[in-house]
Each structure stands twice: as structure tokens, then as C-alpha cells.
Symmetry: C2
């Protein structure tokens, strides 16, 4: 288990991994972004044990990333939908996908292509500057201490 | 352990998690993006056992994400630097951070702020369209089968 164990890290990446970092969880979010909603569909896509899937979905609901929505009565049936907060994970999740497409897909190429529904253009995941509007290469990224950073040993803060 | 166990998933997210998904690995990449390079600095920042850190750094070097670079002779000393491929992880890693800043940081606010070195503007992580140039909200994201997708049960492909 990767989750719930970065307690002393005052860091939004660590906190995010406490929600998403357990085995299968990010792939459940991926499948939900691809349109899956029902338990059996997630189970078929992932090949994960049902009790593990139940646990991961429960935690995603608790974290506000997914919600459990009834779609049938007698018997009651529920499906799992991303919340607005969960849908925002498209940015880092597609960012991980594009990185893998570039560096791990090999000659077969990308397993999936991302497009803008409106115009059909390819989607890029980039750091962009809100002030000048430019795409920001990693070398031009500065990470500075923010208001939520408690005092920590110097090495743990940005420089 | 989260890594190396998504073998039957034809997916760049799963492949990326095979490289990055083990406990501590993404936080090592975070610290490297923040400027840390030396074993003892990573160890101090993370509070992780030295043998675990050794293992994670070795795997990141094997994967081409980091490289081991000599910085002193007699005795030989090495530091760990992100490769160009590793630095590209800034996009998904900062994306995870921004998501955590918005939804998990609480009233204390973001532990770290990201800025564009050139102009000081705030950094955004967004999906953008290469054709029309617009920021693409998750609802306007289409994920389609790509050349690297082997035939799989229908539910596992994009729709």
C-alpha cells in the first residue's frame, strides 16, 4: 500500500498520493475518465479482485473523487461517477499518459489518443503561464514556499 | 508495492505507474524537481529508510528518469539528477500538486507556489488543444483507441 503514509510531508503531491496512490486507484480514475461507471465494467477492465475494487471505490467516494449514484431500483443498483473534483484529475492523469506515450510505448505507438471534442485537435498537457500565456518548459519552473508550508528543515523546502 | 504489476494493461498510464508507482518514487521525483540531488538530502527530506531510497533511486536510473553523476573524487561521490525525460514529469507531478492544492490543502493554503521564472506569472496545469489553442475542460476531452492498442474486450478501450 502506498496510501496514507506520508503524514509528515507538508506537500500537495504527498496528500494527493494519499488519496490516489494505492494500487489500482489511478487506473480506476482512468477508466472512469474513459466512461466506465459500473462495478462489473471496472472489474473486467482491471482484472482486480472484487474486494480490492470495492475498497478502492469506497475510498474514492469518501475522498469526494467519485460518487455512488443509483441507476436502478428493485433491486437497487448503483454506478460510480467522477465528481467535478474527480474530473479535474484528467490533467495529471492524462499528463502521466502522455509521458508514457512518449517514453514507454515503443514502436507500437500510443495505446490511446486524446482529442478536443469541439475541434478534433490533439490535446497537449503543458505547464502554462497565467501571466504571459507561454508554455513553460520544466527548466523555467520555479517552486517557492507557499502559505501552507510549515517550517521544516531547509532541504525540504523549495529553492 | 504498486509497481511492475499492471503487465496486462495496454495503457501508458499503467506503464508509467510501473516506473513511478512505488511508494516514495514520485516524491523523489518531486524533490529532484525542487533541486535536491544528493542521497542524504533526499533521505532527510523524505525520512525514508536508506535501503528503500537506494532501491528507488536505482530503479529511476534504470528507467532513464534520473542519472547518477560523479561530483567528487577520492572518495568517489555521486549525485542524482533528473534526465531530460525525468524533467518532463514536471507536467503530471505539478498537475497532481495543483489538484492537491485546490482540494486537500485546507485553509492553510498551498504549501508551495509555482511560478514562471521568466515573468513571475503563476503556472497553470491544463489540457490545451494543439489545433485551436484553447484550454480544454475535462468534459471536452475525447480519448480514442490509438495505434498501440491491441484488441481487448470492448470495455477496456476508450469510448
Amino acid at each position: 500500500m502506498l496510501g496514507r503514509t506520508y503524514d509528515d510531508q507538508v506537500c500537495s503531491i504527498a496528500r494527493t498520493l494519499e488519496v490516489l496512490g494505492e494500487r489500482w486507484t489511478l487506473l480506476i480514475v482512468r477508466d472512469a475518465l474513459l466512461g466506465l461507471r459500473r462495478f462489473d465494467d471496472f472489474q473486467e477492465s482491471l482484472g482486480v479482485a472484487r474486494n480490492v475494487l470495492t475498497d478502492r471505490l469506497r475510498r474514492l467516494v469518501e475522498a469526494g473523487v467519485m460518487e455512488r449514484v443509483p441507476y436502478q431500483q428493485r433491486p437497487d443498483r448503483y454506478e460510480y461517477q467522477l465528481t467535478a473534483i474527480g474530473r479535474e484529475l484528467a490533467v495529471p492523469v492524462i499528463g502521466l499518459m502522455h509521458w508514457g506515450d512518449r517514453h514507454l510505448a515503443g514502436p507500437a505507438g500510443a495505446p490511446r489518443l486524446t482529442r478536443h471534442k469541439d475541434c478534433g485537435g490533439k490535446i497537449h498537457t503543458r505547464l502554462t503561464c497565467a501571466k504571459c500565456g507561454e508554455a513553460v518548459p520544466p527548466a523555467q519552473l520555479s517552486v517557492e514556499p507557499g502559505p501552507g508550508l510549515r517550517t521544516r528543515p531547509a532541504r525540504a523546502t523549495a529553492r
